[in-house]
Symmetry: C2
Subunit: 140 residues, 2 copies
DNA sequence: TATTGTTATACTCTATAACTATA
DNA sequence: TATAGTTATAGAGTATAACAATA
């Protein structure tokens, strides 16, 4: 059964919902500015640090490996990503960004101002409080 | 160009990303428990307060009206929603939950414990601080 | 035998454009 | 003529199941 919530908690829950909605809109908008879907943008961001095996991408995205094939196909068709063999295991294919893919990933990062901009208005103490509260919400 | 971020801000931005990811996973999981997609669950939640015109659903979901037709079709096929005429404007169709739809919406709400449960561990003062910080992030 | 990636299939969500009924 | 909802179409993401290559 649902717990009864006091008005303050209800408001915080709704605010978190608003933050989530806003975050997603901004993310999709940033991706669309570069003619990418949200999933393509997420994968490109993932690869920007280091080449990643198809199976690992699926785990990170929490989707089936078969879906990753199509997403990487489309990124590869646009010259943003390439498949490489894994020297250690010939079954594995590593997805790695091309130079253009790396530039695109960097541009995407710069576009995601949502969380950054409002935080600049908070004092260092306030950000520390926010960090601690968010950590506890996530059970960290 | 991207602003340089101090480590604290970087951590808060990442935590917000984690909250967003967690929120979405929980939402999809709760919807799937009732054999609903995320979009279907969102629409059902929207209707649970009062009947809503197709066009207005599209605005709330931030998608094209043509998509709402299909989503309501599938909810209607499952007996969770029905279309009603709007007495004030014969062009308009109002989507309203059936009794079963109302029960499903209530069950869905109860399943969404993510935001509620961790907040219970925060003191009233902490929740107030969190509320004010989230409000400022949202420009409210 | 087990694992990796892929293919094939089907469903849902999405945008666009054209259509109908009504305003 | 403008608006509300629908249909038709195409593209993308998703899960499932079956497959080839490799471990």
């Amino acid at each position: 059964m649902a717990m009864r919530m006091d008005p303050l908690t209800v408001e915080v829950v709704e605010l978190i919902g608003s933050v989530v909605a806003r975050y997603h809109e901004e993310y999709e908008r940033a991706a669309a500015e570069h003619a990418l879907t949200g999933a393509q943008a997420r994968v490109l961001g993932l690869l920007s640090l280091e080449p990643v095996a198809m199976r690992k991408i699926a785990r990170k995205l929490k989707c089936e490996p078969s879906n990753v094939t199509g997403i990487i196909d489309r990124l590869e068709a646009r010259g943003l990503v390439e498949r490489r063999p894994d020297p250690a295991d010939r079954r594995v294919k590593l997805a790695a960004p091309t130079e253009e893919g790396r530039r695109m990933a960097a541009a995407l990062r710069d576009s995601l101002d949502f969380a950054r901009e409002p935080l600049a208005e908070l004092s260092s103490e306030e950000r520390t409080v926010l960090r601690d509260l968010l950590r506890r919400m996530l059970g960290q």
